[in-house]
Subunit: 194 residues, 2 copies
DNA sequence: GAAACAACTTCACAAATGTGAAGAAATTAA
DNA sequence: TTAATTTCTTCACATTTGTGAAGTTGTTTC
């Protein structure tokens, strides 16, 4: 089996067992896709075309606010799924750009194919529920963190939980994701190093 | 039909159609429950026993942090479901207290009964997916709001989107929910009124 | 390798929010 | 209704973070 699919299945198995039939469906519909760094694979304003699984690499979601400033709403590294679920599922134009920060290896499935596979089995529905729950908790925790932690504490927490992200992507994206001014983040980093 | 169930079904119909059979299942398993104000119906440390639908009234979720301070993580009014989904579904002890701030009318279903009804139909699964998606978006937006908005802007937004909450529950809960010191919130309210 | 560009840091100052105490107002209990 | 309790406001001052400019470092491109 292709190593990318091994990574995908290992990732899915963290939540549920995958019957052989579903593995075959995955291998039929998910297509490997390599992108070079600094590419937007799903632009805002368009209905997302693919459901993406990051095999390796770093990606982010961002939108441009009224002042023309980029706001990074999510940063992820592989292995994991990374899609604007809401717009993908409801077939509505996304308000976010899905941006490959580094070179990335993906496995992706077309939205129309998801419609097909969704009809096939209960496995996918159960998995969807689990993924949504997991994602919901992540967002909830992020909201709580931003409600209760200082800018410095948020940075320290990210550093502790996702050191790879801090080491591998530009600080300006991290600052935006954490809701900290880049200059302030520099000062915080400086204070922490003393 | 009992008026409480009418409110429940109208609420569910915002997302999906409810086949008659599912309505009957609901009426069999959901039980009316009235609580007086200032009661904790699901305490932290215990596995949530019920899936709750608020017919009317105001509720919040809170936990107590290391400093012994209450952190309000969610505030809701009816009609809507309000349960610690994650702990309810995984049967793990909750880290939050489900608190009826005012007198409340609920419809609630026991966890074991959810296990039974879950096996009955695809309707419930589809509905669960929709609710999770909706909740996920809400949490995501809350995280973004706390990342990009000032304390004053967060208060104004809550006031605009949920005026009833501000008018009907103690400000200290709102301050905690918004991540603002009660004294600072008073000042902000004062500045806004000038 | 030099030039051009982007990313990061540093600084002085400004603005927003936190803190804790004291008092006013509102609510609840007796 | 009065007393007790809780909630809310106000204040002076401390702390944190934002702002914009300037300079440094690093990276890309030709």
């Amino acid at each position: 089996m292709n190593n990318n699919f091994k990574i995908l299945f290992d990732y899915i198995r963290l939540l549920i067992d995958i019957p052989k039939i579903d593995q075959e469906i995955c291998q039929e519909y998910f297509k490997p896709f390599s992108i070079t760094k600094d590419t937007i694979i799903e632009p805002s304003g368009k209905i997302p075309e693919y459901h993406n699984f990051i095999v390796s690499g770093y990606m982010r979601n961002f939108y441009t606010n009224e002042q023309g400033l980029e706001i990074t709403t999510d940063i992820n590294d592989g292995p994991r799924f990374f899609t604007s679920y809401n717009h993908f599922m409801h077939k509505t134009p996304s308000n976010e750009n899905l941006h490959c920060i580094t070179d990335c290896e993906l496995l992706r499935i077309k939205r129309d194919d998801v419609d097909v596979t969704a009809k096939l089995g209960i496995t996918q529905m159960k998995y969807t529920i689990q993924v949504l729950q997991q994602q919901l908790e992540k967002n909830k925790q992020r909201a709580i963190d931003h409600t209760t932690l200082s800018a410095q504490q948020r940075y320290v927490k990210l550093q502790k939980e996702h050191p790879a992200i801090i080491q591998n992507i530009p600080l300006k994206y991290i600052a935006s994701y954490l809701g900290i001014n880049p200059g302030s983040l520099s000062r915080i980093r400086n204070e922490l190093s003393n």
